[in-house]
Amino acid sequence: MAKTEPAATRIQAESQPPKPSWLSKEWKHLKKNRELLLLATPGVLFKFVIAYIPMIGLILAFKYFRYDQGIFGSKWVGFNNFEFLFKAQDAVRIIRNTLLYNITYIVLGTVAALLLALLLNELSGKLIKIYQTTMFLPYFISFVLVGYITNAFLDHKGGFLNTMIGWFGLEPHKWYLETTPWIFILPLVALWKGIGFSTLVYYAGITGINTDYYEAARLDGASRIQMMWRITLPLLKPLVIILFILGLGNIFRGDFGLHYFVPNNVGPNFPTTDIIDTYVYRALTKLGDINSAAAVGFLQSVVGLVTVLSANFLVRKADKDNALF
């Protein structure tokens, strides 16, 4: 008798119309998508470990971290770590430097790349390829090597820059120990390294423009300057705006390689070369204040998210198709 009961209930359950429970429906979907899901699983798990778990570590900004106590064992200290933002001049300095340099790189890079792309577009023939390849060369080397190359110019004893200014009768400088020159040196190096890349992006944008526009303009007797001003530039505008805004979105993320290897990590030039990223790195590897670094790192992550989201919002407003999400 005991055996028949479950059998009876089973029959009963089967004869009832299947309940459209959310869970069982989802289970069915899961089974149907099982294989594709499995394919994506390694990547998803990997990102979980490498990107999502460290997000928990952001709480370090509110803790007094000690290696022996770990992330969770360390004491909570509230907003203590953030105090240095208002006290030490370090904080003001690295945030100011990060923002000002990034703005300079974005403006300078955009204007120069746009100009060069327009000039390249005026030419035809084999020379274009040579120009492109030459401009692209610095893109292929690491910032470590850029550091070597700038060192050949800036070295105090034999650097070529001192030789050059010597031609005009100027005294040699100790570049690595000074502050003001870096305001010009760093953007120049950034331009040298990145110009080939961004020029090609804009040049590709220009070559993508329908040639009919130019044909029509030529028939109407437009000059080349007019075509550049009235056709090429307006049609490039969306691309320029989007890249510009995306650059602004990343304004809190500094270029570590540029600011670490080119000024050669020398203390005396920190007032004009140190950015958030180099500061955090030093705090971590040298004897530094890891708690202040955690606080400023927290700020960088959070403010970074806000700026990227605002940038995307602006792109959406300008041109919906080009928004990131």
Binding site: I53, Y148, V280
Partner: protein
Amino acid sequence: MPNTKGFNLMNGFINVFLIALCLAIALPFVLVVIISLTSENSLVQDGYQFLPREWSVEAYRIVFQKPDPLLKGYMVTILITVIGTFISLLLTAMTAYPISRMDFRYNRPITFYIFFTMLFNGGLIPFYIMMTQYLHLKNSLLALIIPTLLSPFNIMIMKGFLDKISKEIIESAKVDGAKEFRIFFTIILPLATPALATLGLFIAFGYWNEWYYALLFIDNDKYIPLQLLLVRILSQIEFLANSPLAQVADKLAYANFPTLSVRMAMAILAGGPMLIIFPFFQKYFVKGITVGSLKG
């Protein structure tokens, strides 16, 4: 045709300007090569010159006399480039394919999950603590491979390519009873070869020039990739005193050791070969860049 003359004149100006610019861009490279070929005497006396008083291959002779650090650097770099590129390509394609399938139910949440990491992250300090204190990856080859293994940017490029593959091929394979795994490995991957080649070049380029994670995670002499070797030589000449190179220095008496030209010779031997090889693939870089920047 009064205009043609004006055109040619303008072209002339543009060409002159661009040639001058390209010279300015290329000359720093030339200077480094020349410094490496200058005798130490000339360097000490006249500084770095484009036309040195005395040429010499002494620097290269010294490096090749004891090539161990350089060869080891090449070995480590080649190793992480090959292994890293292979795993990275596979992982990128495996992640990009499901989210390129519009009929995949979890398409949107996974896409968001991946791209959110581009917008927000824990920053350097939590990542560093996790890698060293919890995963114990300090001083390992994995520390050089893992951090850049799966970039949302690459997934985006890959997805862009995969979107273009006709869905009918997949449908008909499904009708024939093929499982998704088989479809991916025997149909999608072969069709995506051009994309894989472009992306593979990108990834390999990244691994080859990788120095950031080496700087963070490697502090013994076992796994020094080329770029880190260069960092060490650049940042401290004292490096010569406590590295394998020091033995050479000892023989030559440290005072006479041509550090300046040797430094530049090392830079050229470490960075030069790729500077010659990469430009040949410039076309693919441009392709990847334009896809990436226009789409995101």
